[in-house]
Amino acid sequence: MSEKPSQRPGERLFSVVLVGFSLAALWQAYSISGFSGLSTPGIFPMLATATMVLSALVILRRAFVQPGSGETAGQTIRRFFREIVPPRHVTVVALIAAYLAVMPWLGFLAASAVFLFITTKLLWRRSLLATLILTAGTTAAIYVVFRIVFQVVLPQGTLLRGLF
């Protein structure tokens, strides 16, 4: 339960963001019903967000009291993009965002197949054919398991309505 001695890159910035977010949330909670009564809908949210503010301040204090890594700002930024948000993570999150964006248009099955193919190719690094076979197999399995066995309604696309 002891703090790790070394700073993770971006830890200080993250704790500042937490404090800012908690303060904004506390303000929002206050605006629900203010201090008009002790059993109003806003009281418990205020207690929760006040806890967030307090704990975020403790986290912030620790992040700044802890000895820094002794790096320059440039080195820290480089380490942040190497250890915390490496290009692989950025790419995968961008792919998920794109997957969600095209889903209303392509429909769940087609969008999933494309997403699975691109992401698997990127992460698995095998031949195109192997990736293609794997994608086709998994998409078919997902369709059978969820649409046929579990009877889940999957999002349909506007492009190929009725087909997928």
Binding site: M1, S2, E3, K4, R8, G10, E11, F14, L18, A25, Q28, A29, I32, S33, L38, S39, P41, I43, F44, P45, A48, T49, T51, M52, L54, S55, A56, V58, I59, R62, I84, P86, R88, H89, V92, V93, I96, A97, Y99, L100, M103, F108, S112, F115, L116, T119, T120, L123, W124, R125, L134, T138, I142, F146, F150, Q151, V152, V153, L154, P155
Partner: protein, 501 residues
């Protein structure tokens, strides 16, 4: 009595329930074993598909996955030195050295038998103690539930995280997420920003899938290229002499596991570590030494973490307080089927309680069968590369998030929670308390206001109620003791006590 027996044996004789329990247990073993998949993740996603099912069917499947999953974690701990679940961390300490000596099969066999033994002890405790605790808990008032919720979040937050502040932040963040939407008492909007999409609130299953599914997948991207290690598997069925020899240790470890599992906030991981510690202290002249493939070091944590399953069901079913992340997810599953875990569950729906007891027992029988067979196929499946697994987890998470309310906005929430959860995990926060907060937040809010209304809005009467009733007083003391033990003041006091003058 006849009614109880009928419910106990329901899943044993109904072919469909038998199948679901078996399939759940088998799937659970794989889910628990494959690094990158977890029981919390699987159950989170599964809830969104099974909520239209009959209650019994869904419970059978989920119980199977839970029991199988807790056991499954030990398989990869032994074979690859990668615990598939936190409760298997202790099993890797001696399990992996055994595998390196070429005794992987023996280790798995012994683990299976002892897991089933521990599991059955845990269930026995559930059947014996839950009704008693439940009839006691009926006397609980609103403020007691508020305290129980706070204690639950506090325990999960403090025991699992890097620091108390981080645990408290995570729990409060969860409560905040749980508050979004129209207030159930006054229909006033809270954190809705006038958006229709937010008025219905954020479904806790979506939060679960985001925090456990997507966030975990993103964390796993860091260890994409970990090489797989292959082990030789020979004799699997353990020797009778071994079982006889370790029986007494397994019994003690099961006792530890049941009690630890039953405490809100502590689960199989802590149970296993404590049992391991007990084995180390109680074994004289260990041969080979602990940490080098000692069988006692494998038997104790495995019996304990499976016993903790039955133990964990006790506070979950009788008080409505989940002990850890896995039980938090299962409580979510019970809620979605219209069940209200708490003291009234045993009075209102006793059949479901006895069904669960019978079903957990059945899952353990399946565990024995599947645990001792099919290990060669298993080793092939576990080697499934993460590059294939991660995209699949994301697609399954998307299906799950959508299926819960057929709302595309939920998938966007899932991604947002996934990214937030990733940063929280990377910076040393636990996501378990967040989920507990989301689930328990609305319950705590309602009970806080009920208690306040009961005190006619007078804060002094409200505070007095917490110390003037025996049950509330005990819970209040427990809550503050936990709180104070986490402050720097307490650390200073204990340090002073230890420093020689």
């Amino acid at each position: 009595m006849a009614e109880v027996f009928a419910q106990l044996s329901l899943s044993w004789f109904d072919p469909w329930l038998l199948f679901l329990t078996g399939a759940g247990t088998l799937a659970g073993i794989y889910v628990g074993a494959i690094p990158g998949l977890s029981v919390t993740m699987a159950v989170s996603i599964l809830i969104s598909f099974t909520f239209k099912w009959e209650v019994n069917d869904a419970l059978a499947l989920i119980a199977g996955i839970f029991v199988g999953g807790v056991y499954g974690g030990s398989r990869t701990a032994i074979l690859l030195n990668i615990p598939g679940a936190p409760s298997a961390i202790a099993s890797a300490l001696d399990g992996y050295p055994m595998a390196k000596r070429g005794e992987a099969g023996e280790a798995i066999g012994l683990t299976t038998v002892m897991s089933v033994f521990g599991g059955l002890i845990g269930i026995l405790a559930l059947a014996l103690f839950a009704p008693a605790i439940s009839s006691f808990a009926i006397q609980f008032q609103s403020r007691d539930y508020l305290l129980l919720g706070l204690i639950g979040i506090l325990l999960v937050g403090t025991l699992s995280g890097e620091s108390f502040a981080k645990g408290a932040f995570a729990g409060a963040l969860g409560v905040l997420i749980g508050m979004v939407g129209l207030d159930p008492m006054t229909a006033e909007g809270r954190f809705t920003f006038g958006s229709i999409n937010l008025m219905g609130g954020i479904h806790y299953v979506v939060a679960m899938i985001g925090f456990f599914g997507v966030a975990e997948a993103l964390v796993q991207l860091h260890t994409l290229d970990l090489p797989a290690i292959k082990q030789k598997i020979d004799r699997i069925v353990p020797r009778l002499s071994d079982i006889k020899r370790y029986f007494s240790l397994a019994l003690r470890a099961s006792g530890i596991g049941t009690v630890i599992g039953a405490l809100p906030g502590t689960g199989g991981d802590i149970a296993a570590l404590l049992a391991y510690d007990h084995a180390r202290r109680s074994t004289k002249n260990p041969d080979p030494p602990f940490g080098e493939g000692n069988k006692e070091g494998l038997v104790a944590p495995e019996a304990a973490n499976n016993a903790a399953v039955g133990g964990a069901f006790v506070p979950m079913l009788t008080l409505g307080i989940p002990g850890d992340a896995v039980t938090a997810v299962i409580i979510g599953a019970l809620f979605i089927h219209g069940l209200k875990p708490g003291p009234l569950l045993l009075t209102d729906t006793p059949h479901l309680f006895w069904f669960t007891v019978g079903n957990l027992t059945l899952a353990n029988v399946f565990l024995l069968i599947f645990g001792l067979t099919g290990i060669r196929i298993f080793t092939k499946v576990v080697e499934c590369p993460k590059g294939v697994l991660i995209p699949l987890i994301i697609v399954l998470s998307a299906v799950g998030a959508y299926a819960i309310q057929n709302n595309p906005v939920d998938i966007v929430w899932m991604l947002a929670f996934g990214v937030v959860g990733y940063f929280l995990k990377i910076y040393g926060f636990q996501v378990g308390p967040v989920i507990l907060g989301v689930i328990l937040g609305p319950m705590m809010d309602a009970n806080f206001r009920r208690a306040m209304i009961g005190a006619r809005g007078d804060p002094l009467v409200f505070a007095w109620d917490f110390v003037s009733h025996p049950i509330s007083l005990v819970l209040t003391i427990a809550f503050f003791a936990m709180l104070i033990s986490q402050t720097p003041l307490w650390a200073r006091i204990t340090r002073r006590g230890r420093t020689p003058v």
